[in-house]
Symmetry: D2
Subunit: 338 residues, 4 copies
Amino acid sequence: MIVQIQENARREQVNNLVSWLESFDLRVRVSEELAGTTLGLVGDTGRLDIDQMRSMDIVEGVEAVREPYISASRKFRSSDTVIRTNGVSIGGGGLTMIAGPCSIESEEQILSIALKVKDAGADMLRGGAFKPRSSPYSFQGLGAEGLKMLLAAKKAAGLPVVSEIMDLSQLPLFEEVDVIQVGARNMQNFEILRELGKIRRPILLKRGLSSTFEELLLSAEYIMAGGNEEVILCERGIRTFETHTRNTLDISAVPILKQLSHLPVIVDPSHASGIARLVRPLALAAAAVGADGLMIEVHNAPELALCDGPQSITPEAYEEVARAARHVFGNVRACGEV
Amino acid sequence: MIVQIQENARREQVNNLVSWLESFDLRVRVSEELAGTTLGLVGDTGRLDIDQMRSMDIVEGVEAVREPYISASRKFRSSDTVIRTNGVSIGGGGLTMIAGPCSIESEEQILSIALKVKDAGADMLRGGAFKPRSSPYSFQGLGAEGLKMLLAAKKAAGLPVVSEIMDLSQLPLFEEVDVIQVGARNMQNFEILRELGKIRRPILLKRGLSSTFEELLLSAEYIMAGGNEEVILCERGIRTFETHTRNTLDISAVPILKQLSHLPVIVDPSHASGIARLVRPLALAAAAVGADGLMIEVHNAPELALCDGPQSITPEAYEEVARAARHVFGNVRACGEV
Amino acid sequence: MIVQIQENARREQVNNLVSWLESFDLRVRVSEELAGTTLGLVGDTGRLDIDQMRSMDIVEGVEAVREPYISASRKFRSSDTVIRTNGVSIGGGGLTMIAGPCSIESEEQILSIALKVKDAGADMLRGGAFKPRSSPYSFQGLGAEGLKMLLAAKKAAGLPVVSEIMDLSQLPLFEEVDVIQVGARNMQNFEILRELGKIRRPILLKRGLSSTFEELLLSAEYIMAGGNEEVILCERGIRTFETHTRNTLDISAVPILKQLSHLPVIVDPSHASGIARLVRPLALAAAAVGADGLMIEVHNAPELALCDGPQSITPEAYEEVARAARHVFGNVRACGEV
Amino acid sequence: MIVQIQENARREQVNNLVSWLESFDLRVRVSEELAGTTLGLVGDTGRLDIDQMRSMDIVEGVEAVREPYISASRKFRSSDTVIRTNGVSIGGGGLTMIAGPCSIESEEQILSIALKVKDAGADMLRGGAFKPRSSPYSFQGLGAEGLKMLLAAKKAAGLPVVSEIMDLSQLPLFEEVDVIQVGARNMQNFEILRELGKIRRPILLKRGLSSTFEELLLSAEYIMAGGNEEVILCERGIRTFETHTRNTLDISAVPILKQLSHLPVIVDPSHASGIARLVRPLALAAAAVGADGLMIEVHNAPELALCDGPQSITPEAYEEVARAARHVFGNVRACGEV
């Protein structure tokens, strides 16, 4: 349930209302925007007398919400969430570019790619140290060592970094990682989500292979319910009957998620298709559809990559894709929104 | 199997080779492009002696083809097929805009929409007379009467028209329909496909709800095997687990189908989402990804439409979408292809 | 909307009520069972005064129905429909066995298989003359000639036959075919469904590859709305992300369809899996889950079959499967229903 | 790669061969069955000289294996794995019945259900203490307290217990839990799988909502690669386009997994359908198709359950289902295997 507060309400009055609502065993979340203050109520609201509430001096309106999430809902917060980390912002009306290799393979590799994508205008560096692999016999990433190499590259290139966490025990190693990624296979690893709600660092949450929009937003809600409101949603393809592509990019996810939620939404065209030559057209489609950012796998020598080579593009190709994507994005913005 | 012919081969030599190949019970299709002549062999090629063929004077190369389609394959014809009808071309490097109501409801309705989308720069008018509806109790279209109204609007607005056929018995009524549509539910109605192969009119073939790219191209092959090579492929969303949208637009279909085939590929953002407010972002995504055209449902009063109202946009909204889509398309073209 | 009629209502009174209802532009379907008479109303029932109707002498109850189908609904007819053809019944509490080759290949082939499956206790012979094939270059069936061979085998073996129709133009050839099959790809070929509603022959309607239960029942409704109430539903596997099997048998379809509808439901384990060695376990599962029948592909020499060899079993294997399936079916019946 | 060892090979010779193979950086797994000793080689086998190996005295045969799993493969171990825990066996030719509530709600609740399902012949008690819920605001289980109640019920009823782990930090609490369940959402939580490979307790591994058979077996391989070979596979429904059921039970999973692997396979008809009245028919189908066990949600008052009430059945209904399932299972066994 959403309660809109009168503009002229005093802080004390709002606090009193919150306390009163909490006495019904409800959790109350408060959103303060330019447009006004809104309360989001979670729990069994059945015992509330809606008419009584509507008649309160400081209440402007009360709305029942069908969706089971509140913090992530556009109804609770009408203005776009902008996430800022280390000088980079995601969701503020620009197209944030995240680039880097699927997995960190050596100090030279990650450093060289970092400098090249930096040159090509990337805003952020990605690189996996802990890799979720279907087979126990595949390369599993360099682990803690890899993370150190990533942080060295971060320093050298001056780029904030994003890397995937696979288990809570790894959390201490992520101290200097600017954005922590929760992968598609862990989107409903609720223990991880809950713990990440307790820290204050942006979380990049990838949509599960067969997760609905509602499930994705509920997973974001797990993080936000803990107090960490900086969640970036990422569409990376879903599993369908079509096997030509590794996954099927659900491009509609962007406008739908942005309608349902105030959180920024980015697209990963590399995992979505699994095919390097599709990265460019899908990146342009994502830029045109209104994504807040792109995450692209870049490798110095895709044919030798220890992981996901077939979907990686070279730094040179990345430069061209990034330029074209920004160009399309700018043009769509210029056309205005309807 | 694909046989590339030497540039300097004489027509007579090629004919002899074709006759010889046909003596093996193979069907031989001939493609003559600027790049040279290519033969596509269909049937049991196991009895051919490849080495013998490679050693022939007029043969430049022989390639086994994994795909089960030949006529529709990019390997058989390397240059894009351009379909021309009544002054409009599809596939020649532009973005062809097809607009109109889901179903024809009255003479005034179709005429008024026709004139408005014409004004908004549409290249072609769509309108359904025979409607495939899940329920026998839903509005089934105006049938032959509706088709007459469409043809009157065609004349008045000076726009070529596209309309869906549902059964071969309706074919005589389609005499003046410029492009005949085969709907998603009929994509594997092989009897219709076969018959449409015998006429000489462009066919707009929509991808089935759960059809793979290969199945779509095989259905195109049914038409082309009969000699009708003017097939337009249309991505209109596939069925997945996600129920927020009516279907899931598979935006990757465009670059993949254009890689596998020389046929033009258009996108229908209206059916793909089933939600009017998604038409614009999905149309822009399709324009950015490289589609050859867009088919958009436009209705004068979507809230009163007898069919598919929730996914229809007004002529005014259409005008803006079309302008933005062409703008994006032009910009992507200007960025060049990689 | 469903209207239950009082037990003691006179025929004349019922007729008057029907006429009155039809004056509201509604279609009225009448079901007369031992349990009483029921009217099914289709169309815009919004103008009816429900309270007025409930107060009528001959009306026992009025129920709004959420489902968009009426004739096929269990709410309209509570007792199981039993379909009888040529001495065989489907849906009457037994397990009807339908066996035969995917496609008729020669007179000897179909006759020899017919005699063998007859010996093995089959109730009905299947055999395809018109084959829907993804590729135009695959064997398309023997057509009219094949149908003649099937009818000769019918006579010789004394088994009623089922065969698939692909286009309405073929209908005259099906005069002596006991049960006409509509294949999965034609489940939403509404023109065929409508025409089959006008004849009086049982129709075996296969579920489409990605059709919901509701869509299947609506397709049955197309046939029944025309007056042909003898529809047999067939689950034959749906398309999912799993590619190990050709399709995924949705075994839950049987109890669900039997709850939603009074029509008999059979299972085709051959198409559902596409793997011969799965036919036995899936047939047993179908018998245990409560299917009214099984349709199994049997070929004298599966490895030489012109179509679907990998999923066909030999007459010898069929005999064992049929015996085991009947055994399981009998045991489940003996356990009673809950 | 699979290496079959001659029957008369001495232990020492085998050890020498294993050491030699390990010198190529391969992991070697040894299976000793009545049928003989088999080595499973994992890693880059490209440098091995197959002909040299085939010519070795103690080698009977060498087979390349297409599947990326070895320990879980039927090719590596031909005889069924039988898992024994606390007097109960799974996979040894019987139908093991596991029953209990979705979540433990109180000491009385779990104890009362335990005693009732014990009376009804259940072999094992299930009960969730840590519940994976889509929403952070849903009941999350009683946690450590719940687990204590389960262990008390275990003692009182004399039934081994199975319960789900959600995070490695919970592992110490599972000391006396006989079988540890990894839920569908954690099927690719590789950190948990790896750790569970280090203990010596049976693991019940549920198939992910959109996981292929190969992915399920690779997740089993994660556990087995660590040395814990006691993995029970569980089919519990997959996500498809059909929304009438919560998931779609993939009944074919049982015969396919049992062909690909030697591990026992059980079925959870409660989660597969999400509908209590489907539990019985699906349980019978699973028994007929050859499952090694059934896991069924039983609740004393399903309408009051804090979790998954709609799919739970009463102890009374369970008793009847269990009896019927065993009856069907016995009959299928009696029919023999083909």
